[in-house]
């Protein structure tokens, strides 16, 4: 079965490189024999391939070759160094600069700086007094409070034990008066 010119032209490269199955290869061959314009296209293709095959790979200058080598070997390290420097500048440099600015303008607002200032001015250290409350009457107060609590704990029994109603009194007062005698 003959194939169309359109189909034949689409398969010309495959035909030239012998990539087609045998049956298809013979169909294309038939088509080339049958149609002169397909045959002309085929011959042009073969000549073009021959011409392309003969084209040499063009040379490059030494200067470009050296620059290419440098780019492939050195570009990363140089670029990464500069990138890292930029990162350090942004993430460490900027906060440090802000902190320095603050400590210069408002030294007392920065805790580290204010402490440093305090430690450097040694005369003021004597003005501070360490206060121990237990040595200044707090122990007496605590003893008195402890005694009161201890007393209170002695009376913290049940209602019956603290002088309220005994069980018998309760029965007598409430249950017997109302006639509500529990069944035995």
């Amino acid at each position: 079965m003959a194939i169309s010119k359109f189909f034949c032209q689409n398969l010309l490269s495959d035909y030239v490189e012998k990539l087609l199955p045998a049956a298809r290869q013979s169909e294309v061959k038939q088509c080339l024999e049958q149609y002169p314009d397909c045959r002309e296209m085929y011959q042009d293709l073969v000549s073009t391939l021959r011409l392309l095959e003969g084209l040499p790979v063009r040379d490059i200058s030494n200067d470009v070759a050296v620059r290419i080598m440098e780019a492939s070997e050195g570009a990363r390290s140089r670029k990464s160094l500069s990138a890292r420097a930029a990162q350090v500048a942004v993430f460490a440099g900027v906060p440090l600069a802000v902190l320095l600015g603050l400590s210069v303008l408002y030294p007392k607002s920065v805790p580290v700086v204010s402490r440093m200032l305090a430690s450097t001015s040694g005369g003021e250290a004597g003005n501070f007094l360490r206060y121990y409350p237990l040595y200044h009457g707090a122990a007496d107060i605590l003893d008195a409070q402890g005694a009161v609590i201890e007393q209170a704990e002695n009376f913290s029994g049940s209602v019956w034990e603290e002088g309220g109603l005994s069980a018998e009194e309760f029965e007598r007062t409430f249950q017997l008066q109302s006639g509500n005698v529990p069944e035995k």
């Binding site: 990539l19 095959e53 790979v57 063009r58 620059r67 492939s72 050195g74």
Partner: protein, 188 residues
């Protein structure tokens, strides 16, 4: 822990030395402005250097030809980006290249050894659509095989073969000095 892993890659210097001319040629055939070829190729190799070091740090095993394909994949990505930027210029109308200034039949009896003829051939290759030109350049000029060209261009077999065929037929027409490509009418 902390042991340095052995890399099984070919030496970077060797790969670069072997392929620099071919990558340069690929870019030369794909770009319209020769002045932009060298900077682009340098960028391509800088990027390839990074790719290589990444592979090295992962202790990847790449053969010489796999690494070569990786290099040309990087090149093709850069070329596509560059052409996309140029396309914009073409639409705006800044590009004044005369793409169809043919005339002489270079297939019939022209001496391909002649420098002037070679320059004309080069110009006519540049007249092909970039999508058709890339397979032709890689397969027929830089002599990659079909499998490698497919991998570099990221195409499937059918698309690749179709573009290669169309590129060759269009180029044949351009070499003949025909202004209108008969093959593109027939095959599209």
């Amino acid at each position: 822990m902390g042991e340095k892993t052995e890399s099984r890659l070919p030496e970077l210097r060797e790969v670069v030395k072997e392929q620099d001319r071919r990558v340069y040629n690929f870019c030369e055939y794909m770009l319209y402005d020769p002045a932009l070829v060298a900077p682009l190729v340098i960028n391509i190799f800088a990027e390839f250097g990074k790719v290589y070091r990444r592979l090295e740090s992962h202790a990847a095993e790449y053969s010489d030809s796999e690494l070569k394909i990786r290099l040309f994949q990087v090149a093709w990505t850069f070329i596509q980006r560059h052409l996309a930027a140029q396309e914009h210029n073409l639409h705006v109308g800044r590009d004044t290249r005369d793409l169809k200034d043919f005339g002489r039949d270079l297939l019939a009896g022209a001496n391909a050894e002649d420098t002037h003829v070679r320059e004309q051939i080069f110009q006519r290759i540049l007249s092909l659509d970039a999508d058709l030109r890339a397979p032709v350049v890689l397969r027929d000029i830089l002599k990659f095989d079909d499998e490698q060209t497919m991998q570099i261009l990221g195409m499937r077999w059918g698309v690749y073969r179709h573009r290669l065929n169309r590129g060759r037929l269009d180029f044949a027409n351009f070499l003949r000095g025909r202004l209108v490509s008969r093959s593109s009418e027939a095959t599209t």
